[in-house]
Amino acid sequence: MAGSLKDQSCIVGIGESKYSRGTPYSDLELGLQASMAAIDDAGLKPRDIDAIVIPGGFGTTAGDYAACFGIEDLRFTASLEEMGGAMTVSAVETAAMALVAGVANYVLIPFVARWYSGMKAREGTANEASRIPAAMAVRDFYMPYGMGAPPQYYSWMCQRHMLEFGTTHEHLGTIAVTMRRHAQLHPNAVMRDRPMTLDDYMNSRWVTYPYHLLDCCLETDGAAAVVVTTPERACDLRQRPVYVAGIASGHPYPAHEIPNRRDMFTIGLTHAAPRAFAMAGATPHDLDFAEIYDCFTFQTLQQIEEMGLCKRGEGGPFVMGGRIELGGEMPINTHGGLLSQAHVCAMNHIVEAVCQLRHQADLRQVKDAELGAVCAWGGHGHGSIAVLRR
């Protein structure tokens, strides 16, 4: 189909650094570790890379990697700062466009996150120098009231959902506990050895009601990377290719002003998901699993609804009864997610989805996984989604 990105690109390499709270490595060293692992996984050499899409954030640039990799003729670079944390999945979309257009052959997407030892998210939201797009509204109209941290403005949405649809802390806690159980099965999950019960969740302190501490994602250091190429080139490489069957990005409206949206629940993903599924020729119910940007428990529930796994307002009941656990009808965040593996802005979710679709996920393997989705969330509700197939 002309103009479509359907099945026109493949993820052929994945790599991750060790995820930790605190690291002896620089941003670039972390990014190089993940990138070299991804390039090697693909069976490529660093000099084969001819395009680098830097999702954004933190301290590395395409030029840094190119200098280290001896890439004397880097053909294409891009950055997706406007997407906030959704920049990672949007970077795959940009890579696919560059490949389809013939601008590049092997695209590296490295992403470094230093949420533990670097600047905290809440310290950058009101700072224009942080390049976080909503900084003006936050600085001038939220911060005079001490409202600038992601758990604060995201919990506005959560509270409103609780009021309109009766969503409960048991629903949210089930998400937190499920992510933790999945993390126990992942050797590179920061919370691997820290089991959690629903009681632990309920008894954890309020950060900002309705969010407990255990509604909030981890702050960790680490990097992840993927290599994307065309299907023709993918066939010659080391791993079974994972196809980008559908991919799209979207924005809330107005993007930088949560309070004055018509409703609190229409987000970038609401617009992007139908585009991505239509491109893939699939529906949300065809998925074998979903890896969803779980910055907070409610934002996971909200994306479950907005990507179309259930109707708006039904996310609470949807997550109950083991449905989102490994072995359930729709396993979600099989690696533990941002809540219990590490916060790499869903680059780890992309890596996990590829692992699942290659059937390399060991104890976490979703049986016969053929089709999976990765949803990413950023800023005040930007969203992107990749529908990936084996």
């Binding site: 809440r122 009101a126 003006m136 509204a137 600085r139 001038d140 109209f141 939220y142 911060m143 005079p144 009231y145 001490g146 409202m147 600038g148 941290a149 758990p151 604060q152 403005y153 919990s155 506005w156 949405m157 509270q159 409103r160 009021l163 302190r205 309020w206 950060v207 900002t208 009601y209 309705p210 969010y211 501490l213 107005p254 930088h256 002003e257 949560i258 309070p259 004055n260 609190m264």
Partner: protein
Amino acid sequence: MAGHSADYGKPLPLMRGYTKEFYDFCRNRELRFQRCTRCGAWRHTPRPMCGDCQSLEWKWEKVAGRGKVYTWTVTFQPLYPQFKQDVPYAGVIVELEEGPRMVSWVTGIDPMQLKADMPVEVWFDDVTPEVTIPKFRPLKF
């Protein structure tokens, strides 16, 4: 009570452009929002063009200052050291009768007693000689 800016110690808006105009009205005990003079749409936070009709014509139109609680969060952990003395405090989205919503505080009530649609009215807190922050309190009948 107005103190010196240096004593206040909490984050202040950057007083320039539309932001300064908004807060200068507050110092004069007026809550005003941008309103399109072509199609009548209100907008907040400020921007130069109407998203509904793309008109550049607008004025700062006064609202009555009454509204209701739309949603809120009650912050217990001092995420910002400048607000350590204030926890727990609620960041409330107030929906004004005229339509626009804004972030504020509802004072004079235990934040865990906030309710959806609770009627509130604006009051003006002169936090420094230069800056007045609009806050709300429960509206008494």
